[in-house]
Symmetry: D2
């Protein structure tokens, strides 16, 4: 039984609380938030949980095994550091930290202390992404050639981070989870329509050593809501349309084959457009699996899907994209 | 009555022939193509037209007023130059030429000779784009803030040009037609999955002096066909979905207003999500209007919508995008 | 302040409880259900409410002003009768009763006692139906000529009622609410694929005195979920597609005009296909308005939208449809 | 080589002409139409064909082997009779005749003369219906339990026939082709909004001996165009959506299983909602296969898919539906 305390009961905290409360291997010992009205709300649902306005009460209780941090990203590093130093396992909301340096420091500290440090990239646990991962791993898709993501909406402008920090972690985590090879560089372009200079529209491209490109289209200012990822392999192509009620993943037996030939002047591309297959997806709440994975990483010592290396890489990519945005969209090298 | 000769009777030539044949102010005097079987096909439809395998016969006939060039892009410059030098008005298929230098040279020559030189960017004449142009011009949309285009498909790989040269002219011509301000720089990233190094997926971003961004997503290797343009103004946002059978243009009374305030730390964005309006569109074939516009530019001396300045700018933008692609996606300045 | 007791805490009861709990003019005094585990569930949410396994405790408490009955339909009559006899206002879940005779008896009793008796046809209160009602009332739609409803799904087979009793009340209530004129006859055809003979697919047609037809397609055995109503007027046509996330109601400036003419042999129909308008809808939970309407019917003496006459007519129509089903689809006359 | 003459060059005639012209086993000898302007149009496309205003010239030419009748339905019987009597094979446009009596008389005459008599139900030859037929024949779908068709549009009002005669032949022919068992009765309800009393909206139900129901929703007065057929089997369910550009047929591994049990009070239905499969369809023009089938019925003596028994049954069903419409929607027995 893992005794957990949740710090931050804002937008995502209630979902975390509900799932850890429902997990038979966890006990929801604390919920901390500096807003009394949030604690009052939680109090109606979890009569046995302790509520506090100060996270340190959670950190200082020796009975607490794990701390779940669901606060704004700027506070992640300090809170996670304190928790690790006090011997607690840590689950961090995405994005892991506000800088890659902080992420690496936390990873080192967790390793030194022998503690679990995990990031909640919930999308990795939903039925659609699990199915996509399977289709890539069992070589149904073949060698991946591109990854094209669009996540646009009339969204809430965040006051302290741009649209990439807000929306891209979802898609980057899926990319890193599904494609084993890592990107070698990042470029980004975008625009801010507010005085604070934070981009509300941004495009990001990732290059790979060979044969793969990944592109991300993120916007808070689209009149239509699109959440779509195309993944092209040399055997099959996938479309993951998260706005579809029931046909979220489609597998296209569609492709082209490039023939090697002495005579380069001729087009040597063979087309194929075949059946489409729409697999039934597991509709279990993704957060249920995520919370189980965190508990298992503590009790069973397994490596979680949404591990801290992936969490760090997500941060590093967005950080590099921001560097690109501030420097005339220049290409920023990664070093994974 | 304008006597016209069409050079090139491949994919697009038959549509041009049909429309100029049907135009009461034009006479379809010649069709030239170096493939006998193409001429035979045309012969069944236009019994009074002269068919020839050599374009020079068309150029050398003093009765011919105008030459319509629908051959592969690499041959545009030489054919158009010859026609202009022989005193013919010229209509060029898009893209206008293979280089911006050639485009400028043709424009100079046409001006010197006092001849019409027009480029067939057919999209400018369809009901959807005409409606969009109206909505922008009458200030329904307000100040434009972004233009986001996706044109992807499982398309035919072209043997001599990359996907931008093939697909982007449509969207760039719409952009230049709809937004008066001109872009100041181009950046592009992409990937080639063929030995010839020609990109089959490419992304292109255009920057403007202030407040506008334009982005283009072009691919020959998508399992789904998407042809969608989002145009965001500060009063309304438009979606032009060319794959919709009957609701191609939607006008969203959707937006956000950024308030100026002393305290920059607060978010000062006001949202609005209102009614949607789906205007009925003129479904007349776009090519009919285009052919009328060309004839009017000759007989009535009017400036056509799809004029040669716009044609040149389209070429220059793609040329700069290609330069960006060959140079690590660096930003290439335009000088319009 | 109206003190209410809810009888039945199954599928719909929790939604009723939440809305009456949140209503500032109501007090949720009782929840009754004969299943302890349901009461336990409710107990976590409403600490001040009294829970009981017997509805009679609710009925017998002189402090209770109103009883809300959310039990299976076969028990509606007896429970509502007892409540009315004991001087309580009554809100019944749809369908009102298992027979029209029972519905009329309850209406008489309520009138005699001077008590409110209302039926919860929730659909009448949602933003889409309210908008449709407005568009019909302000004569935007013109004279209504047809009403065509499809409500099909892979649905739960009910053990004691056929698919019409389960699904059609929604659509019939919308019909009766939107069109003032009442139908004069019912016909129905259907099929049962189970041993109990209860139809899992059924079609129902309603005839009117002149110029209107209404048709309903109901199924528990469709692989796709469709919830669509077409309403045709002589000025505009409406489509209400409840499966659309955000564009549920579309108003088509589409129609045909029939011209009277001496010569009947010619077709005298003029077509029109114009703009489409997608109004923004009020997204407030329908049940909130319904609960307010019930409270207002008690405290303010107003006639609720979802009144008992409409509730009775819904029951009578389905009852007649069932009679038609049992008699070779013969036409059954109504007498509204 | 079959020498054919086409009688009627209106809406469908040009498509027939093009396909028989392109058929290597046919020669398009005649096109007859009483409108000179129609013949002129045809003359541009088929320089070797003989054009005439009188069908009798076609009938009387001993060189003509087969006559294709694409005139309004009221003239089908007389023209076909004359052709058969003069020893010509006959292909009739759908619907075969204006009455079932006429259809039977023609079938008898053709048999007596040993001539081919076929009806052009083109839909039977398109890729979607061919695939559906395969999926039913190879028992993928299992025992069929229902057939539900919707064919609605803002359509042209026909001056002499109601909406069933205009639209339902497509769907009835598919039904009869796909399901071997024949219906035993017909019922129909509808409404006319024109003075001529011809229904512009009509619903039709077909009953079977056991376990199957078929229903048709036909309208010329819908603001949206829907062409959808649901076919439910006990193993799979099919959706044929003809408005989809590329995913016209979807195969749902969705169903329910009814268990026989002593205790009839319990629900004994097991649900299943599995993968969806979207087969690639043959996109060859259906009319090409249809014309080949007619020629093969003459030269090779094979029974065509769209044979005259099916053609007769389609007519008989609509005739019975009209009888039902004229008699208060009463059930009309069929006798196939």
């Amino acid at each position: 039984m893992v005794k957990v305390g949740i710090i931050g009961y804002g937008y995502w905290g209630p979902n975390l609380a509900r799932n850890f409360f429902g997990n038979p291997r966890a006990e929801l010992k604390y919920i901390a938030d500096n807003r009394q009205e949030r604690l009052k709300l939680a109090g109606q649902l979890y009569p046995k949980t302790v509520f506090t306005e100060t996270p340190h009460q959670v950190m200082n209780d020796p009975e607490v095994d794990a701390v779940i941090i669901a606060t704004p990203v700027f506070s992640h590093y300090e809170l996670a550091k304190e928790a690790l130093q006090k011997g607690k396992h840590v689950l961090l909301e995405k994005p892991m930290t506000a800088s890659s340096k902080d992420a690496l420091a936390l990873i080192d500290l967790a390793e030194e202390k022998g503690l679990s440090l995990m990031v909640d990239h919930t999308f990795l646990y939903n039925g659609a992404v699990r199915k996509i991962k399977d289709l890539v791993e069992d070589n149904t898709v073949g060698n991946i050639q591109y990854f094209d993501s669009t996540r646009i909406n009339l969204g809430l402008f965040q006051p302290d981070i741009n649209v990439l920090w807000d929306l891209a972690p979802h898609d980057i985590s899926i990319l890193l989870h599904v494609i084993e090879e890592k990107p070698i560089s990042v470029q980004s372009t975008g625009i801010s329509h507010t005085d604070n200079g934070l981009e509300n529209i941004a495009y990001m491209s990732l290059k790979y050593k060979d044969g793969i490109i990944a592109h991300f289209n993120c916007s808070w200012t689209s009149p239509v809501k699109i959440r779509m990822i195309l993944i092209g392999g040399d055997k099959k192509m996938l479309v993951y349309n998260d706005m579809e009620a029931s046909e979220k993943v489609k597998v296209y037996d569609t492709g082209y084959e490039v023939k090697s030939d002495a005579d380069k002047q001729k087009i040597l591309v063979d087309y194929r457009a075949g059946d489409i297959y729409v697999p039934k997806l597991d509709t279990t709440e993704a957060l249920k699996y995520m919370s189980e994975d965190f508990i298992a990483s503590i009790l069973d010592g397994i490596q979680p899907l949404s591990n801290n290396t992936l969490g760090y890489q997500v941060v590093r990519i967005i950080e590099a994209a921001e560097e690109s945005l501030r420097n005339g969209s220049k290409e920023i090298l990664l070093n994974f």
